[in-house]
């Protein structure tokens, strides 16, 4: 069945069960991926998946939900039945409705959908990439984590009020993580990830070069003394920390009591006036962009921090109603509708005179720690408390030289970090999770072995 037929099927089945109000979200995908090991194919994978999530409203306007991979006629009926039963336990304290924007026009850009290149082509390209990476430096002994994949998918939202939206996309991903070994030294590992609409859009040479350069740059390492340091966050690492604490902008988290913000936090000064942060799911560089969210609300650009002050929260339909505003296109369909950011864009505002512009990671000759990549986010972040303690890959810059840091963690508090931003460099860089310039923060604690 295609998405129109599924909508019809659900509508007819709902009628037969006397369910007047329903909506659904669905995803249909075909994925192909390969992994290699020293020039040989290791595992080749293909999958065909379909996921259907149906919500129904009972006579008391309580919502029930069911998710299934069975989109046959009998599967759809069973899902509606289960959702109807679950609606008896619907949340009486927070009602859910259709998004008032579910029928608004959506911004449909050129989806740049590509055709599959096929498993054999994927395998050939990955084999060549692995060989090139192994040959790039004598210390690189293996590429233990590697993969090349392509996905083709359709996402759908429809409801009993006549809303119907769908889009199709393709996406490809390449990751290469190399391991370097030298005598009497610990093995070092680093890598690179590249995304594209299709395999032909991925800059494979650049992925190889990045993985090689990063790995080699960590070969000469040293432990770092435990102390407080001036820190330069790479664009990737700063976006990691902002995403980890995105509950600060999240209306659902505020209502659940797990955010550092509260209903009255709009306008609160969080950082230097030089900082702007947006959520921009439709940004042209966002390969995974979606024109609407799980409730069918159109995706849009939203300012989260304007000149250092909290400007907006991200919302679902129900949180927006509670906050007396409109949904922002950040909802995930579920029994309890989740809210999450799409694509964070960090930039320097016009009010930037207080920044220490001499802090430039390419020219600054004083001592600082450069954080290239933060790890173990799920373990080291306490979003509800604002604290973090995270291992990282990076370098200590001292006396005009840089040396890789053997093993260390950076610890602090997100509010302290935002308040202590001392420079926002001018050049923004595109990463897999958003866009940001390098960000400098004064006085964060680093724990090393020394």
């Amino acid at each position: 069945m295609n998405s129109k037929e599924i909508t019809t099927q659900i509508s007819e089945a709902a009628d037969s069960l006397n369910l007047k109000k329903w909506d659904y979200g669905a995803s249909f995908s075909n994925d192909y991926s390969v992994q290699v090991d020293k020039g040989e194919a290791k595992q080749l994978k293909a999958s065909q998946k379909q996921i259907l999530t149906i919500r129904v409203w009972n006579e008391s306007n309580l919502v029930g939900i069911t998710t299934t991979s069975d989109v046959s006629e009998s599967g759809i009926k069973k899902a509606l039945n289960q959702a109807n039963i679950a609606s008896d336990f619907g949340n009486k304290n927070e009602s859910t409705e259709f998004s008032p924007l579910a029928k608004d026009p959506i911004e449909v850009k050129d989806s740049k959908k590509r055709n599959p290149v096929g498993i054999k082509k994927l395998l050939t390209l990955l084999r060549e990439a692995e060989i090139s990476l192994l040959e790039s430096h004598e210390s690189i002994k293996s590429v233990p984590y590697n993969g090349l994949s392509e996905s083709f998918y359709e996402r759908v939202y429809a409801n009993s009020d006549g809303a119907f939206r769908s889009y199709t996309k393709s996406q490809a991903a390449l990751y290469l993580y190399a391991r370097a070994e030298e005598e009497n030294k610990k093995p070092r590992s680093s890598g690179s990830v590249k995304l594209g609409y299709g395999v032909e859009d991925i800059d494979i040479e650049s992925c190889i070069k990045d993985a090689s350069n990063k790995t080699i740059s960590h070969l000469n390492y040293s432990s770092i003394k435990t102390d407080k340091y001036l820190i330069c966050f790479s664009p990737e690492s700063f976006l990691t920390i902002i995403n980890a604490f995105s509950s600060m902008f999240n209306a659902r988290s505020i209502l659940d009591g797990v955010s550092l913000s509260n209903k009255n936090s709009i306008g609160e000064k969080l950082s230097t006036e030089a900082l702007n942060i947006y959520d921009d799911g439709l940004h042209e560089k966002n390969i995974s962009s979606s024109p609407f969210d799980g409730e069918g609300t159109p995706t849009k650009r939203l300012c989260l921090i304007n000149k250092g002050r909290l400007e907006n929260f991200i919302h679902s339909e129900s949180t927006a109603r509670i906050f007396k505003t409109m949904p922002t296109g950040h909802a995930g369909l579920g029994s309890k509708v989740s809210v999450s950011p799409d694509w964070i864009v960090v930039e320097k505002s016009e009010e930037n005179s207080d920044l220490k512009t001499s802090l430039d990671h390419t020219t600054y000759e004083g001592e600082f720690v450069y954080i290239e990549e933060l790890n173990a986010i799920h373990a080291g972040v306490r979003a509800s408390q604002g604290s973090f303690s995270l291992p990282f890959d990076g370098w200590l810059y001292k006396n005009g030289k840089k040396i890789s840091i053997e093993s260390a963690t950076v610890a602090g508090d997100i509010k302290y970090l935002l308040k202590n931003i001392v420079n926002i460099e001018s050049n923004q860089e595109v990463t897999t999770s958003g866009i940001s310039p390098h960000i400098w923060v004064d006085e964060l604690s680093i724990t090393g072995d020394a």
């Binding site: 595992q43 998710t67 336990f89 391991r179 309890k336 408390q385 303690s389 963690t409 090393g448």
Partner: protein, 474 residues
């Protein structure tokens, strides 16, 4: 209901599918495969969330699908699909054969048909009717969250429950033909406490396998007391000072460090990748002689226990480390093929859309002879890690774990609570420093995410002392 409606030429749960499965396997072998494996599942899942004094989410789901794996020489092709018809499964076999570029079908492996059906599900079909109803779950969760409301510093209270009933069929060209039903239930409590600028959290999770009545027996009052006390103890805690120091890790979930930092390095997938420092250390000393470590899938009711693994092998009890000497790796079919280490009944996957891989089950450090007090008394200046948060291990073996509830040890006594501690190290450097093991082994359930998805596991240990480790702080 787990059983599907009967249709011709389609996999039917609860019925004999032998002829259809044999036909599909013959088809794959006929096309030149060395080995054909079919994994089929039917799942029925429910989860319930209570927040404060209300049920805020009830999420049922169901699904079915098949994962087909074809081996040729040492490489494999894996195809997953929701289509369980004969045509759908044949198409998946063809796709896997095509991916592997198998063109020479003259040198055929022999398939002698499937063995006698090993049906582990016979005594388990009643489980679906024995598990608690949504109504029963909701009532108990609400009582649990009410129990957390012990003072006005508790600002957030949550209780969550989920159960997964998974019916599986496994058939492969070595004759394996197995059916089973698995039941996993897990329940957790969380609080956030707040007072002025101070904030803390507390959480506990419990889980079982194959015990439909376990949730009814769960002592929610004790759990609520534990979570509340933990959050209160940590509410006004200072940040720990960073540095090298001896630590005592508590029993139960303290075992997550061994699981993450050492256990994963003993999976054959790590040998295949060349990412374990223990690859050539079999029968060599890799840990302090006080350390014996076990991985097994047989403890009754434990979260990582199985009647049969996802490749149709009964799980064994594997002594990984005996008195500090490395004795065994955790292996699956691909691991045995590619590394030579015999299978241990550890081929596991999250669901049909993942190929099985060597994964831990119930993994723990065996008990020693010391009391908890012996360990603490032996330290003049160190850290007691009563409750561990999550952690991770990097590609070169460095680990990092958050301490959820920690206390300073001064002159052999527990003193002030401290927050923000992180344990940092490498398995091969830390394992020889585990110098004392307590006599109070206990296990705790968890979820482990890795190459074949998220699987239910148990971690465990008695109290253990690590002579020196890097503690990250402020």
């Amino acid at each position: 209901m787990l059983s599907s409606q009967i249709k011709s030429n389609e996999i039917i749960f609860g019925s004999c599918n032998k002829d259809l499965l044999e036909e599909i396997i013959f088809y794959g072998i006929g096309l030149g495969a060395d080995f054909v494996e079919i994994f089929i599942e039917n799942t029925d899942t429910s989860s319930v969330l209570a927040e404060e004094d209300f049920i805020t989410s009830v999420s049922p789901s169901f699904g079915r699908g098949a994962g087909i794996r074809i081996f040729k020489n040492k490489k494999d092709g894996f195809v997953s699909t929701n289509d369980l018809t004969k045509n759908g499964l044949m198409r998946s076999v063809s796709q896997a054969i095509e991916m592997l570029d198998i063109t020479d079908n003259k040198k055929r492996e022999v398939f002698n048909g499937l063995d006698k059906h090993r049906d582990y599900s016979l005594s388990k079909k009643k489980w679906i009717n024995e598990v608690p109803s949504i109504h029963e779950i909701s009532e108990k969760l609400l009582v649990s969250t009410k129990s957390l409301k012990k003072n006005n510093k508790i600002i957030t209270r949550k209780g969550s429950y989920s159960r997964n009933l998974q019916e599986i069929i496994i058939a492969s060209s070595d004759g394996t033909y197995v059916s089973d039903i698995r039941l996993h239930q897990t329940v957790g409590l969380n609080v956030i406490a707040s007072d002025a600028q101070y904030r803390s959290s507390g959480s506990r999770r419990f889980g079982s396998s194959g015990m439909p009545h376990e949730f009814r027996l769960w002592d929610h009052e004790k759990a609520a007391n534990d979570v509340f006390e933990s959050s209160m103890n940590m509410l006004y805690a200072d940040y720990v000072d960073a540095g090298q120091m001896p630590v005592v890790l508590a029993n139960k979930f303290g075992g997550v460090i061994f699981h993450e930092a050492c256990g994963h390095l003993l999976e054959t997938t790590q040998i295949e990748r060349g990412t374990t420092p223990f690859e050539n250390k079999l029968n060599e000393k890799i840990a302090h002689e006080s350390v014996t470590a076990i991985d097994e899938g047989i403890s009754e009711g434990s979260f990582g226990s199985l009647s049969v693994d996802d490749e149709g092998m009964e799980p064994e009890k594997s002594v990984l480390i005996k008195d500090g000497i490395l004795k065994k790796f955790i292996s699956d079919r691909a691991g045995e093929l590619r590394t030579g280490h015999k299978r241990t009944g550890s081929g596991r996957r999250q669901n049909y859309s993942f190929a099985a891989a060597s994964r831990m089950r119930n993994t723990y450090i065996a008990k020693g002879e010391h009391s908890k007090e012996d360990l603490i008394n032996s330290i003049s200046d160190g850290l007691y890690c009563k409750s561990m948060g999550g952690g991770s291990v990097g590609a070169t073996g460095q680990f990092n774990f958050a301490v959820e509830e920690g206390y300073l040890i001064k002159n052999g006594k527990l003193t002030n609570p401290v927050k923000g501690a992180t344990l940092i190290g490498e398995a091969k450097e830390v394992m020889p420093k585990i110098s004392m093991c307590g006599n109070d082994l206990e296990l705790a359930p968890g979820f482990c995410g890795s190459i074949s998805g998220s699987v239910n596991v148990t971690v465990g240990q008695p109290h253990i002392k690590v002579d020196s480790i890097t503690v990250g702080g402020r």
